[in-house]
């Protein structure tokens, strides 16, 4: 980090090398679209490295980069909700075909974003179950159990009270247990 703050390109590249897989995996599991996850991961690193002067060394770099990545993913999901969650079609839809293509089909919210890639790469039962969680639950459960962050770190990273983070994670695990119940039979 010290070398990166001095502007050493090699240090920047080392940071990208270390965090590209966790950051990309977190975003991919949040947005469930590989191309989009590539773009958001790239945007995350550009934003983080261009603002490296504002990074406070008392925090872990991983927490900082995960915060930026999570914000990028959540912002995207919120924007997408605004565009897609209209039963009258997306605001930009003008022709009848566009309106039909973008209109919300009741009950199909869980399937629409899951493309061929997910069927292949995120296709396991647990990945599908994670995909059905609310984005807030999804990011909390990923940060806790995939990235191994402590509750306090997650609370700080997501700007949420500690109790809320615990509730999200417990509820997420409860939902996952229910969603994966068929595997126990």
């Amino acid at each position: 980090m010290a070398l990166a703050r001095e502007g050493r390109e090699a240090a920047y590249r080392e940071l990208i090398r270390r965090y590209e897989r966790p950051v990309f995996s977190l975003i991919l599991r949040m947005v469930r679209d590989r191309q989009l996850a590539e773009d958001l991961a790239q945007e995350t690193f550009i934003k983080a490295l261009n603002a490296i002067g504002t990074y406070r060394p008392e925090f872990k770099f991983s927490s900082w980069i995960f915060k930026i990545a999570n914000n990028a993913a959540i912002d995207h999901l919120r924007r997408r909700e605004l565009v897609t969650l209209s039963i009258d079609g997306a605001p930009h839809a003008t022709s009848a075909e566009d309106i039909e293509a973008t209109a919300l089909q009741v009950g199909d919210k869980a399937e629409t974003p899951l493309d061929e890639l997910e069927a292949r790469e995120l296709g396991s039962a647990i990945e599908r179950a994670i995909g059905q969680l609310r984005p807030e639950y999804r990011s909390c459960i990923m940060l806790r159990h995939v990235e191994g962050l402590a509750y306090e770190e997650i609370a700080q990273l997501l700007d949420l009270p500690l109790g809320t983070v615990k509730t999200y994670i417990h509820r997420a695990r409860h939902e996952l247990r229910d969603l994966l119940a068929h595997l126990r039979d």
Partner: protein
């Protein structure tokens, strides 16, 4: 007779594997065939796992392990009187603590007696293991290059500026060509100027003297013009008679005091507030 409620729980099997199982529980293990079999099986599984190449486990890994761990679960004895499950059941925090192996003893004892919580805890552990075993995905190759093309490296010293230039030049040979051409033009023109100056010192001295003379002439002409304009003003005479040396001194003193006061006030306004004031304001 062996008390079924005292069969080793998975955490105790972990402790046994690490050689940290308390003596009291070791004596149970020595006398209980069921627990001994479970412990040996666990040891066999762990030893097998340790021999595996270090790669991301399959998503079914947790199920495979836990399927064998469950073999060690105590079979309910027909003669045993089912103990009433103390309330409350394990909370989310308790389950967290159990997965981390730090469940308080009183909750641990509830867990041992409550089949409902045991099932929940089992599912919780499997779920956590499955989550922890999730693979990481690789982005398309070249992410670092794509990012670095859009990152502005901070220039903190001449050394970093030189390093950045070197790195960029290494990546873009065209930059090297352009920079070298500009440097040659600048260097050539400076060298030519120096050579010409060395051979024509009398011309330089003459031109310098002429410029100094012209500047002096322009200065005195300008000062004379301003003075003549002032003297033609209607208020000039009254102002001149009013400005006695004593009044000039008093006016200068007043202006000096006002200036010093202004500077002190500005410093006070710009100074950061003391810590307690800052705390009170925040």
């Amino acid at each position: 007779m062996i008390d079924d409620a005292l069969h080793l729980v998975p955490e105790e099997l972990d402790l046994w594997l690490e050689g940290r199982l308390p003596e009291s529980r070791l004596s149970h293990l020595e006398t209980c065939d069921l627990c001994r079999t479970a412990a040996e099986e666990i040891r066999e599984v762990v030893s097998h796992l340790e021999r595996l190449p270090k790669a991301a486990p399959s998503p079914r890994f947790a199920d495979l392990v836990m399927a064998r761990v469950r073999l060690a679960s105590p079979e309910p004895s027909p003669s045993a009187v089912p103990a009433p499950a103390p309330v409350p059941h394990l909370t989310g925090d308790d389950l967290d603590a159990w997965v981390l192996g730090v469940l308080p003893p009183e909750r641990e004892s509830h867990l041992r007696r409550c089949p409902e919580c045991q099932a929940l805890a089992d599912q919780e552990r499997v779920l956590v293991m499955r989550l922890q075993a999730l693979p990481l995905f690789d982005p398309r190759p070249g992410l670092a290059d794509r990012v670095m093309r859009q990152v502005d490296l901070p220039v903190t010293s001449l050394a970093t500026a030189w390093r950045h230039w070197r790195v960029r030049a290494g990546r873009e040979p065209r930059t090297v060509g352009i920079t070298a051409a500009v440097a040659m033009m600048l260097g050539g023109s400076i060298a030519a100027s120096a050579a010409w100056t060395a051979g024509h010192q009398e011309v330089i001295t003459g031109a310098g003297n002429w410029l100094v003379g012209q500047a002096q002439q322009w200065w005195w002409q300008g000062a004379g013009l301003v003075t003549a304009l002032l003297q033609r003003q209607p208020w000039y005479d009254s102002m001149r008679s009013a400005l006695t040396p004593g009044r000039i001194a008093a006016l200068s003193g007043t202006l000096l005091v006002l200036y010093a006061g202004g500077i002190m006030l500005l410093r006070r306004l710009l100074a950061p507030p003391p810590a307690d004031t800052a705390r009170a304001l925040s």
